[in-house]
């Protein structure tokens, strides 16, 4: 059975090669057909792999190393991509899938351009398939087959983490087609309105799932690692943040190219970079060159291959860029104080912010080359990334109303006064009743500023369009995303400045107090699950009139000989009361259980904000209605 999958993957490699040659020769129809056929074949290969996991076919080496008969079915399936080889198979499938969908849906009216984009996408598929088949094949047999598998890393047996890799890969790999479009556009020497219309849709198709994928990963770390935090500036997290930031810059710059045909070279460069940063992310995660709390399936040798791929693709695209960028045409004229200028500012800030993340991520490696072992943590990023990004957020509500070409600055003073007043109010609140640091007070002001700005802008646009429900989807999308950004800032600031944590060591029947909550340990029981056993604590938390039951667990997975922490979270509406169970300690002849207790205010607001950004990304892909009168003003974002 698995041999059929292996064969199908080879067939997909052959088809991808054909797609490359046909595409680059300009055969739109044939390249499209091979892309679709390749997708069919690769889907078959992937399904066969998943099927092997579902049946626990331990004669397949990958299944034997990563699965177990006692595992619940959903984690058997998710186990197919919860390891290096399987996740590379998913990477290939998504690469080919994006090519196939593009082949079926692209209607730019430019045959050669579309063919070449498919050709480049075929080339990317050849690269990843060759890597899959020759350096990390999931289709190998194990002889003799063991009776039982080694089990999936228990940390990964979690609903959020079952969905996290596919989402993240839709994002990472989604940028492969953006890359292909940029390469094809550069070959043609045409990065214009038609190109940008296509590139915008595909950059959204990558950005939206990437956003949700990052949110899922962060939420997983929040409740599964038991550390109470949602972002650790860990190299693996940074690896996903960097393409996201570049992707956000791209989303904004491609609009300028679509509407005004300006920024052509810059947009093409960002399109290339978005994918290169995705591969860089894969390299950082897979190679193990950096220490990470999320690292799994690490192999330095494969890292080298990924690095070679990165250099190859990068050299190809950047060489093409250097060759063709000077001949690209500029668009309509603009001044600095215009929507173009504002979006340029957005891009500069996002790129500089990305560079600070890159520096912070790679600095330990650089230092190591000089023989020093150091690490870079949250304080560095709080000092660099946060204030730099804040610059863009401060101007956002003001400049999003600016017109193309030259802004009308009449309302300028009103915005300045409004912003200053809002900041002053929060500063006073911060010093007075709230008693929080000034930075946090400013952050709160910024969050409200963004939410208010998003709503205000929607109102302005709605007036342009006559009625709210006549507004194009992309205006709704922008409102959602920018309001989501504001909610995220609010949640992040409230959580970070209002977080409270403490450790309790309680005997059964004992009581401790954390953040006003009186927490009693009623009992600790040993329980058993399908493929684990656990100590499960029963706690009662009381505050004022409310009572909450908390049941944190410490699980042990015998197949992997590994414990995991299952936190208990009680949502109060204003925040999470969060408890992680630790080990048993012998104190003065008495057995006590240790608990780490956190109160994390407004975490849900933070995640709601990120989800809104992701939904905004999806909504922005909705095609514009043609019935709109052009006189009603262009749907300009």
């Amino acid at each position: 059975m698995i041999e059929l999958g292996h064969f199908a993957a080879f067939l997909a490699l052959g088809l991808a090669l054909a797609q490359t040659v046909l595409g680059l020769k300009g055969e739109r129809r044939l390249a499209g057909l091979t892309a679709i056929a390749g997708f069919g074949v690769m889907s078959l290969a992937f399904l066969i792999l998943v099927f092997a996991f579902m049946r626990s076919d331990f004669s397949v080496a990958l299944v034997a190393n990563n699965s177990h008969t006692l595992k619940p079915m959903v984690y058997k399936i998710a186990g197919a991509w919860g390891n290096h080889e399987g996740s590379m198979a998913l990477w290939c499938l998504v690469t080919i899938g994006f090519g196939a969908i593009a082949a079926a849906t692209m209607r730019t009216g430019r045959e050669t351009f579309e063919a070449r984009a498919l050709g480049v996408q075929g080339m990317l598929a050849v690269g990843s398939l060759a890597y899959l088949l020759f350096a990390s094949s999931p289709f190998l047999r194990l002889d003799p087959a063991p009776f039982q598998g080694a089990g999936l890393n228990p940390l990964l047996q979690d609903p959020a983490l079952a969905l996290h890799p596919p989402m993240l890969y839709l994002g990472y790999v989604g940028y492969s087609f953006v890359f292909a479009l940029a390469a094809a556009g550069l070959m043609e020497g045409r990065i214009d309105r038609v190109w940008a219309k296509e590139a915008r849709i595909w950059s959204l198709a990558a950005f939206a799932p990437l956003t949700l994928g990052i949110a899922l990963g962060s939420y997983w770390a929040y409740y599964e690692l038991g550390w109470g935090g949602w972002w650790f500036w860990d190299p693996v997290e940074n690896a996903s943040l960097m393409p996201w930031l570049i992707g956000a810059a791209l989303l904004h710059s491609v609009i300028v190219t679509e509407k005004r045909e300006s920024f052509a070279a810059w947009t093409a460069l960002l399109a290339v970079l978005s994918f290169l940063f995705s591969i860089l992310g894969a390299f950082l995660v897979r190679s193990g060159v950096l220490t990470s709390v999320h690292a799994f399936a690490v192999d330095p040798e494969r890292g080298t291959l990924l690095l070679l791929g990165l250099l190859g693709y990068g050299g190809f695209a950047l060489g093409l860029f250097a060759l063709r960028a000077p001949s690209l045409l500029g668009g309509k004229p603009w001044t600095l104080l215009s929507r173009e200028g504002a979006l340029m500012a957005n891009n500069v800030v996002l790129i500089v912010a990305t560079l600070t993340v890159l520096l912070g991520t790679l600095f330990p490696l650089i230092a190591e080359a000089f023989g020093r072992t150091i690490s870079v943590g949250e304080p560095y990023f709080n000092l660099t990334f946060v204030p730099i990004l804040a610059l863009a957020l401060i101007i956002l509500p003001v400049v999003q109303a600016w017109a193309w070409g030259k802004a009308d600055l009449k309302a300028w003073t009103r915005w300045a006064i409004g912003g200053a007043a809002l900041t002053a109010v929060f500063m006073l609140l911060g010093v007075g009743p709230l008693n929080i640091p000034l930075g946090a007070a400013f952050g709160l002001a910024l969050g409200f500023w963004l939410v208010f700005g998003a709503v205000w802008e929607m109102k302005r646009r709605a007036m342009n369009f006559g009625r709210v429900f006549k507004m194009p989807a992309r205006v709704w999308a922008m409102t959602l995303a920018h309001a989501g950004l504001g909610l995220f800032v609010l949640g992040a600031v409230l959580e970070t400045s209002g977080r409270y944590e403490a450790t309790l060591a309680l005997p059964v029947g004992g009581t401790g107090t954390v953040a006003g909550w009186e927490i009693t340990l009623n009992d600790v029981r040993a329980i058993e699950g399908p493929n684990w056993y656990a100590d499960k604590a029963e706690l009662t938390a009381r505050k004022g009139g409310t009572t909450a039951q908390l049941l944190p667990m410490k699980r042990f997975y015998p197949a992997a000989a590994m414990p995991t922490t299952e936190t208990a979270i009680h949502k109060t509406g204003a925040g999470d009361l969060y408890v992680a169970l630790g080990e048993q300690r012998e104190i003065d002849g008495e057995a006590r259980w240790v608990f780490r207790v956190y109160y994390n205010p407004m975490v849900d607001v933070l995640y709601l904000g990120v989800v809104l950004i992701g939904l905004g990304g999806f909504l922005a892909m909705w095609p514009a209605r043609r019935s709109l009168k052009p006189a009603a003003g262009e749907a300009s974002l």
Partner: protein
Amino acid sequence: MRARTRRLYTFGIAAALILAAAALAFFALRENANLFYTPEVLAEKGLPPEGREVKVGGWVEPGSLTYADGGATMRFIVIDNSPSTITVSFNGVAPDLFREGQGVVATGTFTPEGEFIARQLLAKHDENYQPRELKPLEAGG
């Protein structure tokens, strides 16, 4: 505005921002990059400036683990291949794979008396994972 003037302005603003960011990053790295101390390094270099966050790594000395604060704080001794040791205290839950005799990396600050107050503890992630900082120790031992 002519394209050339505009480009000049754009590059000027971008360059200013990049320079500011570079200065900020330089400052932040100098102040905030965490140096790594093993007991041997500590004996060699002495204590870092007070309040400066650093990392400490080595093995948990078998039999050295004790508890304070009614059990909420753990205290143990970190050793390496040198005769020196570092006493680490940590208010919290031990990481899942924390064991006496195993490798551990702690992030935190030193008290003037030389005791290390850890804010975070990392132990081996799984059987195959060793905190990167401990690899040189492994090779030496």
